[in-house]
Amino acid sequence: MKYLTEFRNGEIAQRMAREIHQITTRPWKIMEVCGGQTHSIIKNGIDQMLPAGIEMIHGPGCPVCVTPLELIDKALAIAAQPGVIFCSFGDMLRVPGTEGDLFQVKGAGGDVRVVYSPLDAVDLAVKNPDKQVVFFGVGFETTAPANAMSVHVAKRRGLKNFSLLVSHVLVPPAIEAILSAPGNLVQGFLLAGHVCSVMGYWEYPPLAEKYKVPLVVTGFEPLDLLDGIRRTVVQLEAGRHEVENAYERIVTRQGNLPAQKLLGEVFEVTDRAWRGIGVIPKSGWRLNAEYRDFDAEERFHISGIRTEESPLCHAGDVLRGAIKPADCPAFGKECTPRHPLGATMVSSEGACAAYFNYGRFLSAEELAGAGSGMTGVARG
């Protein structure tokens, strides 16, 4: 695929990794915010290619993972109601609520459907006027324009049977929360490239200045990630703390103005609880007064939800980067993708799932030593 495959070239990747080795003189801790970047790093073994002194800390950039348990439980309650078609991205289907998940609700007879785009859910509302269609609008700023358009279209068409269950969270407040937390060890950030394609990166210089950390807008393919890491290390080694754009082919400083305009018309900023972290002020979006009618929480008054997190689950520590998934005592034992205790183990963007699915229960040496019999590109 053009503009994708080229950025996965193994030979260039190894040269870039060698370059990083050359310029690194001290240990550094760098956080990649976005779960998609975590996934790509672990899957491609980017962290295996870096010098041992550089530690990639996995951030809370998994909107599925940070959606509050209470909202998951509300989603399950709504989806179980007769007369409801509950639509969601595939990611949400196995996220555990207090009791069960959407997949189980489907198994018990709920009409739960996976869709590719929120507009598909709007189509379903048009075609099923006798049903209430609810779309689970989970995501960071990247997904918000799509969700905004869905309610905008629903409103324009006068649909009475479409609503959005909103769980939108924002990246800059999360980064600030991490940087301002006592004991923070993160020294530099890879900013989420696709979030920035929507929002731009003009919000970040004050953060870089206040906390003296380099912030580099980074893509998702191996070469983009290595370049983002390299630029961060260059700044760290030089004692600089600036905002840099390593994803220029997609991201501009101002971002996507038409998207920002509609976002402003549909959403308003609100405090949000991040599962495993707590409430971060002004860190989320909700539908504003103009669009409040389309809010599923308002339309379906779900009460009597009793939420209970598993006491064994350390997802919060993982999301804050305080521990690695393999450090969690339940990892691979009570908690596996088949029986997840928390969202980080079931979301394909969650760090725990990435570690489990790409085998990070082998030690680094064991993993590096495996495959020594294979011929092929020499490892850097």
């Binding site: 695929m1 053009k2 503009y3 994708l4 080229e6 950025f7 260039i12 040269r15 870039m16 060698r18 370059e19 080795h21 050359q22 310029i23 690194t24 003189t25 001290r26 240990p27 550094w28 976005c34 010098p51 041992a52 002194g53 998994c62 909107p63 991205f89 590719y116 785009s117 929120p118 507009l119 598909d120 995501g139 960071f140 990247t142 997904t143 324009p145 799509a146 358009m149 279209v153 324009r156 068409r157 060890l185 020294q187 490239g193 696709h194 394609s197 998702f220 370049d227 760290l236 004692g239 220029e248 082919r249 997609i250 991201v251 501009t252 996507n256 038409p258 998207a259 509609l262 850097g380």
Partner: protein
């Protein structure tokens, strides 16, 4: 957060008041809403997330980035072995201060 992939716009129409394109992702074609990137024309490349185009791919920049990547590391091979750089990085104790001035 954010599986967005690049595709080429093959056709643009209007459906229900929305600007919609048929976008080709390496041979697989999907209908995509183009409302957020009004400057897109047939033949342009765009990055698409959940059925929405979010940004036009600046091809010139993309090519330049690739060219830079290809250059990277080609000249440095004489400058020192990776083992030496690796050893340098591993020696210093874990420290929160980039310049090593604090011991914790």
């Amino acid at each position: 957060m954010c599986l967005a992939i690049p595709g080429k716009v093959e056709e643009i129409t209007t459906e229900d008041g929305l600007r919609v394109g048929r976008v080709n992702f390496g041979g697989v074609v999907k209908r995509v809403c183009l409302d957020y990137v009004p400057e897109l024309e047939v033949g342009d490349f765009t990055i698409v997330h959940v059925g929405f185009a979010l940004s036009k791919i600046d091809e010139e920049t993309a090519e330049k980035t690739l060219a830079d990547f290809r250059e990277m590391g080609l000249l440095d091979e004489e400058l020192g072995t990776e083992e030496e750089a690796f050893a340098r990085a591993a020696v210093a104790p874990q420290s929160a201060c980039p310049d090593g001035s604090c011991s914790n």
